[in-house]
Amino acid sequence: MTTDAVIAEILAAHPREQSALLPILHDVQAEFGYVDAAAERIIADALNLSRAEVHGVVSFYHDFRSAPDPRPAVQICQAESCKARGIDMLMQAARDAAGERVRLAPVYCLGLCSVGPNARVGDRLHARLDEAQLVSLVTAQ
């Protein structure tokens, strides 16, 4: 299926109103890994919005990306409770293991604040990470 056809299918699954914009963007982001200018234009037309309005929303939220990034991603919690449990001390090793190959994305709290340092890959969560475990998590992606 072409990109346009997939987006049309996503649009068909939602009501044609602005309040459906976030659910639509989530679906597009999940399908392609990004929401680019072409996708913004199709969505804007369908919801009777300007492309600027749609782009404003895409660029506001951290979850939406406007360009593809083929690298696997590891989200590492950088918030206070994970800092209190030593995540900052592990970051250099994680960065070394990631290099250019893996994208390390900061996340501010995964709701596991009593068992940090924590990370998320897709929908899988990882807790009580020490340096070796974090490095092998990054290397395994």
């Binding site: 989530h26 939220y61 604040c113 009593s114």
Partner: protein
């Protein structure tokens, strides 16, 4: 065949609960997945005939089954961590399966909703007001007053919006409730809808909680007929902390940028799509079924301290030995929470600081650990309870780095609508950097010979500190919402109590 219970809460999963469950199944046991008791240092916790074992790994299975495990903790329900609590909102934690209507009904589920329907909206509003329930999302606004405002507001369409954005570090009670007892939240929303006359509800939940999203969606399918004609949809956030602010959340639900709206108008009068809207935190709504059960309002009101009534699900997090969920009446002190209940730091080192109330909360010094946990007492100490998260730091913490992080977080998450927050948070990071490097030197341009008439903008460390104080005062007074307005709390408290970390002598 031995029946084993292991939680399927996201925290237990992150600690390896699935592999453990598979190992028990391979050993011939039946495994039932229940909610979490909230003793996080013991997760994954294994329960067999009421006896607990944890934190367990697949290697422990044989020893546990043969009764020889060193990880035995005895009966769970009478464990001091559980027995010392007064669990109302978390009464089912560990005891039921999240998606079992049977478990829910057996433990008093739907009694509040049924009674609410019997006594009618006016009495429901009275009882919520009488219980003294205040919003658990942070501001502590009386729920009864908010609900009555929405009930009385003119308008054919009204909404119930559950704020499940739980972005604060150190908090996980909303997540645990949604994963462990989603039906109770749904019942609370249905009671609110009945009280104010709303037909549609939304649960706005952060995208960082995929397990809770799935549980809520499944739970809503299970009980659609029970709450009908009221209907609830789950909406997923997109990684913006500020969308926990109620007006930003409403914009997000409407498909817009999550910018904060000015108040007035209050969301209670003009909220979602301009209609009267109740916006309440997960814990506020989940406390309601207990309050609406027979005698519940008096029972709730009888607990707590001062004007902070009822119980607070406190979250013990960060560098603490016994972290987890501790629901207790207001009035408890940090000394009790951290040392008696929490067992001190996980690292075994001395406690240096505690942040209460998430990233916008003040850092408290051990000298302040006797302040009673109540909204007014914390406000008087320039601190806040927020969502009840407690993050413990040991003596290796660098409080200047934490202050800088508070500014950095504000800059990353600012919605951008007002200048003190959007620009001030960036300037704040720069000033803290300059304090740490001993003051401001003239830059390359200022040193050019042509610039000899321009005043050099050199500043001493003391002048930089004064600048930071002034910046914080402006952010506090002139920000539209609490993201910019409260970021000064962690910054100023760190500066006040730990000047040495900033390279300053005691002030």
């Amino acid at each position: 065949m031995t029946a084993v219970r292991i939680s399927d809460d996201a925290l237990a999963l992150a600690c390896g609960a699935d592999a453990l469950a598979a190992a028990f199944e391979a050993a011939g046991c039946t495994v039932e997945r229940a909610s979490s008791w909230g003793m996080h240092w013991l997760e994954p916790l294994v329960e067999i005939d009421g006896m607990g074992f944890g934190p367990a790994t697949p290697e422990d299975v044989d020893a546990i089954l043969s009764g020889k495990s060193a990880k035995a903790i005895g009966p769970i329900a009478t464990h001091p961590f559980i027995a010392g609590q007064q669990r109302l909102t978390f009464a089912r934690a560990g005891r039921t399966r999240a998606l079992s209507l049977e478990d829910y009904e057996r433990t008093g589920g739907w009694a509040g909703l049924e009674r609410a329907r019997r006594i009618g909206p006016e009495h429901v509003l009275d009882e919520v007001a009488r219980s003294g329930l205040r919003g658990r999302g942070g501001a502590g606004f009386p729920a009864g007053v908010k609900w009555r405002t929405v009930a009385k507001a003119p308008g054919a369409r009204k909404f119930i919006v559950c704020n499940a954005d739980e972005g604060d570090s150190g908090t996980f009670a909303d997540r645990m409730l949604m994963e462990g007892d989603p039906l109770q939240l749904i019942e609370g929303m249905a009671i609110a809808a009945h009280a104010v006359g709303a037909a549609q509800g939304y649960i706005y939940i952060r995208s960082e909680y995929p397990h809770a999203i799935r549980k809520l969606r499944d739970a809503l399918k299970l009980c659609a007929d029970i709450i009908a004609p009221f209907n609830i949809d789950v909406r997923v956030g997109a990684g913006a902390y500020v969308c926990g602010e109620e007006t930003s959340l409403l914009n997000s639900l409407e498909g817009k940028r999550g910018e904060v709206r000015g108040k007035p108008p209050l969301p209670a009068l003009q909220g979602l799509f301009g209609c009267p809207t109740v916006v309440n935190n997960v814990l506020t709504l989940a406390a309601v079924p207990h309050i609406l059960a027979e005698g519940g309002a008096q029972d709730y009101e009888a607990r707590g301290a001062g004007r902070s009534k009822g119980t607070m699900p406190i979250q013990l997090a960060g560098n603490i030995r016994h972290g987890g969920l501790y629901e207790t009446p207001f009035g408890v002190t940090l000394n009790q929470l951290i040392f008696e209940i929490g067992g001190g730091t996980a690292s075994g080192r001395p406690v240096k600081a505690v942040q209460v109330g998430g990233p916008l909360g003040a850092y408290l010094h051990p000298g302040q650990f006797d302040i009673p946990f109540d909204y007014e007492a914390y406000a008087a100490a320039d601190a806040l309870i927020g969502h009840g998260g407690i993050t413990v730091f040991d003596d290796t913490a660098d409080m200047a780095a934490m202050a800088r992080f508070a500014m950095e977080f504000c800059a990353v998450e600012s919605c951008g609508k007002c200048t003190p927050c959007r620009i001030g948070s960036v300037r704040g990071q720069e000033i803290i950097d300059r304090i740490l490097s001993g003051g401001r030197q003239a830059d390359a341009v200022e040193l050019l010979p042509q610039m000899h008439n321009a005043r050099l903008a050199e500043r001493s460390q003391a002048e930089e500190v004064q600048l930071l104080e002034e910046l914080c005062a402006v952010m506090k007074d002139a920000s539209l919402c609490a993201l910019g307005g409260f970021t000064p709390y962690p910054v100023m408290s760190a500066l006040r109590h730990w000047p040495a970390d900033f390279g300053l002598s005691a002030r």
